[in-house]
C-alpha cells in the first residue's frame, strides 16, 4: 500500500488574478502532476449586486446598469432588458429602430466573438491571433463610437426604440466594413484554426456530448459546439429576424475547437445579417413617441430572451406598478456556461484548463452580476 502521504494532490489556485481566466474568476485545481483531478470554480469577485441596484432605479436608469453586465456585448443586455420592459409596459417599437437594433447587435456579436476567438488563440499561445482578432474588433468599435459616442458601454438601446439615429454615411461605412471583414475572418481561420499546433491544442479537449450540453444548461456557441441546434433568433423569431436569412452554425465533436470555430463562422452569418438588414432598413422614427419619462408598467411579470454572443440572455422583470422595478433578474448565459468548467476540466492537462475556460467564453461581469 503506497504511503498515503506521497500521492497527495498538489492544490493550485488559478486566479482571480491570472492571465488566462478571462477576468476575475478563480479555479481551485487539485493537480496530480500535470493532470487535473478536480476543478472547483470560485466566482463572485466582480459581484456588484446589479439586481439589487436595479431595484432602486427607474426603468430608464437601469439601462446603463445592463451595459456593465456583459461588458463585451453590452448592446445585447440593453436589448434584452428593453424587450422585457416593452413587453411589460406594452410599448411598441418603430420599424427603423428594430432594424437598427438588429444591425447593432449583430455587429456586437462579431466584436464579442472576435474577443473570444482572439483569447482562445492567446490561451493556446498564439498571441498574434489575439492582436489580429482585436484589429477586426476595433473596426466595429470605431463604428459604434461614431453611432453613439461610446466604445464599450453604449446604453444605446432604450425601451421603445434606440437612443440615436444612424449619422448620415454611417450605413455605407458599415456596409464597406462588412465587405472587408470576411477576408480578415478567413485569415484568422487559416492562422488559428488551420494551424496544426492549434488543432492539436484545441481538438479533443473539453468534450461535451449533446445530451450533456442540454442537461448542464449550456446555451449559445457552447451548446451549438456539441451539436445542439438551439438559436433563439431562429426559435423565438423575435424582432425582424424572420425577414432575414441566416444559418445556424453547429459543431459535431463538442470540443473546444468546435466551440471556438462555431463563433468564427457565426461572424460570417452576422455579416450576412447586417448586409440584409441595412438594405431592408426603412426611414422613419427611431423612438416611439409618447413614452412617459418614468415608465410604470402595470403590476405583473415579464420575461424576454435574446440570442447574445454567449447564449440565451433572458431578462425577468417583476413590476409593482411603480416607477422602479420590483425585481430584475438576468438569466446570464456566461454564468451557466462557465460553471461547466468543473465538469469539463477533470482528467485534462493543466495547459488545457486555459483552453477549456477560453472556449466557454466567460465574461465575469455577466457571470457575477
Amino acid at each position: 500500500m503506497p504511503d498515503q502521504e506521497f500521492n497527495q494532490e498538489l492544490v493550485v489556485n488559478v486566479g482571480p488574478q491570472h492571465p488566462s481566466t478571462h477576468g476575475v474568476g478563480r479555479i481551485l485545481l487539485n493537480l496530480d502532476g500535470d493532470i487535473v483531478r478536480k476543478a472547483e470554480l470560485i466566482i463572485g469577485h466582480l459581484h456588484r449586486g446589479i439586481e439589487k441596484m436595479a431595484e432602486n432605479r427607474t426603468y430608464l436608469q437601469v439601462v446603463p446598469l445592463t451595459d456593465r453586465l456583459d461588458y463585451v456585448g453590452s448592446m445585447y443586455a440593453n436589448w434584452a432588458y428593453c424587450r422585457a420592459v416593452e413587453k411589460a409596459a406594452a410599448i411598441d417599437v418603430p420599424e427603423r429602430a428594430e432594424y437598427l437594433r438588429v444591425i447593432v447587435c449583430e455587429m456586437q456579436r462579431i466584436a464579442s466573438h472576435m474577443m473570444s476567438v482572439g483569447s482562445s488563440g492567446a490561451d493556446s499561445g498564439a498571441f498574434t491571433v489575439f492582436v489580429y482578432a482585436f484589429d477586426l474588433r476595433e473596426r466595429i468599435v470605431e463604428l459604434f463610437e461614431q453611432l453613439c459616442g461610446a466604445r464599450l458601454t453604449y446604453s444605446y438601446v432604450r425601451p421603445g426604440g434606440v437612443a440615436f439615429d444612424a449619422p448620415d454615411g454611417w450605413a455605407d461605412a458599415v456596409l464597406a466594413e462588412m465587405r472587408k471583414l470576411p477576408t480578415g475572418l478567413e485569415e484568422l481561420d487559416k492562422l488559428l484554426f488551420g494551424n496544426v499546433i492549434a488543432r492539436g491544442r484545441l481538438k479533443g479537449v473539453g468534450i461535451m456530448s449533446t445530451e450533456q450540453a442540454i442537461a448542464w444548461g449550456a446555451t449559445g456557441p457552447v451548446a451549438r459546439g456539441s451539436g445542439v441546434a438551439l438559436d433563439i433568433r431562429r426559435q423565438d423569431a423575435y424582432s425582424v429576424y424572420p425577414r432575414i436569412g441566416f444559418d445556424v452554425v453547429v459543431g459535431d465533436n463538442g470540443d473546444a475547437y468546435d466551440r471556438a470555430r462555431c463563433r468564427l463562422l457565426e461572424c460570417f452569418e452576422s455579416v450576412r445579417i447586417i448586409e440584409q438588414a441595412i438594405t431592408q432598413m426603412p426611414e422613419g422614427p427611431i423612438l416611439t413617441d409618447g413614452i412617459p419619462r418614468l415608465i410604470a408598467p402595470p403590476k405583473g411579470d415579464a420575461y424576454a430572451r435574446i440570442e447574445s454572443a454567449r447564449g440565451t440572455l433572458g431578462v425577468y422583470t417583476v413590476s409593482d406598478g411603480g416607477a422602479k422595478p420590483y425585481r430584475v433578474h438576468f438569466r446570464s448565459p456566461a454564468f451557466c456556461n462557465v460553471s461547466l468548467i468543473s465538469r469539463l476540466a477533470p482528467s485534462h492537462v493543466l495547459s488545457d484548463l486555459g483552453v477549456i475556460l477560453g472556449s466557454l467564453d466567460p465574461v465575469f461581469g455577466e457571470v457575477d452580476r
Binding site: L10, V12, H18, P19, S20, D34, G121, A122, D123, S124, G125, A126, F127, T128, V129, V131, Y132, D135, L191, L192, N195, I197, A198, G200, R201, V349, L350, S351, D352, L353, G354
Partner: protein, 315 residues
C-alpha cells in the same frame, strides 16, 4: 600570471559581448513582433527605439530584487548565475572567423552542445527554490524539455561531425563544402527546431507559458536576477544562430574576406528573425505533444540524416 590576467580580461569582454547580443536580441524581437502585429514596437527611446532595451536594463538593475520569504535563499540567489554561466560559455567555442575561435579545442562542437544542457539543472532548482507551485511546475517542465531536446540536437550536429571528420567547430567550419547544404538540410532543420526548444522559445515555451504558469521558473525573480534569465534566453538564441551559421553554412559559405563576414552576420540575423517569426506565428504545444514530437519525429529524422551523412562521407 599574465595569462591569468589575460583570461580575466577576456572573460569581461565576453560578458559584455554577450550582454550586447542579448540587448540586440530583445530590441530586435520587440521590433519584428511589433511589425507582425501591425504596431511599431519601441519607438520613443532613441532612434527607432534602439535605446529601449538599454533603458530596460538600467531599470532592472536599479529595481529591487525581492526574495520570497519561504524561499531557499542561498539556492534562490545562486540559480541565475548557475543558469547564465553554462549558456554564456557556449560563446567561447563558436568559430567566428575561419580557423579561429575564442577557445579552440578538439571537441568544441560537442562542448557547445553539452554545456548549455547544465542550465536545465539551474532552471529546475530556480523553480524549486522560489517555493512557488508555478515555479516548481515550470522548473520540472524546463528540465524535461531540455533533456528530451538534447538528443535530436546532438544527433544533427553529429552528422556534421561525420562529414567534416573532426569534432572541433573550427575544423568543421574549415572543412565546409557547398554541397553540404543539400545533404544536411534535414539536419539543419532538426538543429534549428531543437535549439528553439533548448532556449524555451517559440512553440516550445512550456516552462514560461504565460497563459498557464504565468512565468514558469523565474516567476518570483525580479530586478537583476530576472534580467539575467532574460539574458540567458536571448543570448541563447543568438548563440544557436551563430553556431548554425558557422557550421552548417560554413560561416558565410566559406568566402574569405569581408564579404564572408557580412554573409555570416546576415545568416545569424536571419536565423534569429526566423526564431522570432516562429514564436509569434504559432500557438504553444502541450507538454505531451512536445515530448512525443521530440522522440517520435526529430530523433528519427536526425538518425536517418546521420546514416545518410555516413554513407556520403564513405563515398
Amino acid at each position: 600570471m599574465r595569462s591569468y590576467l589575460f583570461g580575466v580580461l577576456w572573460g569581461f569582454a565576453a560578458a559584455i559581448l554577450i550582454a550586447l547580443t542579448a540587448l540586440f536580441g530583445v530590441w530586435w524581437e520587440r521590433k519584428v513582433a511589433g511589425r507582425m502585429q501591425m504596431r511599431f514596437g519601441p519607438q520613443q527611446a532613441g532612434p527607432a527605439g534602439v535605446l529601449q532595451t538599454l533603458a530596460d536594463t538600467v531599470k532592472l538593475v536599479v529595481k529591487e530584487d525581492i526574495t520570497p520569504n519561504l524561499a531557499d535563499v542561498p539556492v534562490f540567489k545562486l540559480m541565475p548565475y548557475l543558469v547564465f554561466v553554462p549558456s554564456a560559455s557556449a560563446f567561447a567555442v563558436i568559430p567566428f572567423a575561419n580557423g579561429w575561435a575564442p577557445f579552440n579545442t578538439e571537441a568544441s562542437a560537442l562542448f557547445f552542445l553539452a554545456v548549455p544542457g547544465m542550465g536545465a539543472l539551474g532552471m529546475l532548482l530556480a523553480g524549486w527554490a522560489s517555493h512557488n507551485t508555478y515555479g516548481s511546475l515550470g522548473g520540472v517542465r524546463a528540465a524535461a524539455q531540455l533533456v528530451s531536446y538534447e538528443l535530436p540536437r546532438t544527433l544533427s550536429v553529429l552528422s556534421l561531425v561525420v562529414l567534416a571528420g573532426t569534432t572541433s567547430a573550427v575544423g568543421i567550419r574549415g572543412a565546409w563544402q557547398w554541397w553540404w547544404i543539400v545533404v544536411l538540410a534535414p539536419a539543419f532543420a532538426v538543429y534549428f527546431i531543437s535549439s528553439i526548444a533548448e532556449v524555451n522559445r517559440g512553440p516550445f515555451d512550456l516552462p514560461e507559458a504565460e497563459s498557464e504558469l504565468v512565468a514558469g521558473y523565474f516567476v518570483d525573480y525580479s530586478g537583476i536576477r530576472w534580467a539575467i534569465f532574460m539574458m540567458v534566453e536571448y543570448s541563447g538564441i543568438v548563440a544557436a544562430s551563430l553556431f548554425g551559421a558557422a557550421t552548417f553554412l560554413g560561416g558565410g559559405l566559406g568566402i574569405p574576406g569581408p564579404l564572408g563576414v557580412l554573409l555570416f552576420v546576415a545568416f545569424t540575423v536571419a536565423f534569429t528573425t526566423m526564431m522570432i517569426w516562429v514564436k509569434w506565428s504559432f500557438p504553444r504545444l502541450r507538454p505531451d505533444q512536445l515530448m512525443s514530437f521530440a522522440w517520435k519525429v526529430l530523433t528519427p529524422v536526425a538518425l536517418v540524416q546521420l546514416l545518410v551523412a555516413g554513407v556520403v562521407s564513405a563515398l
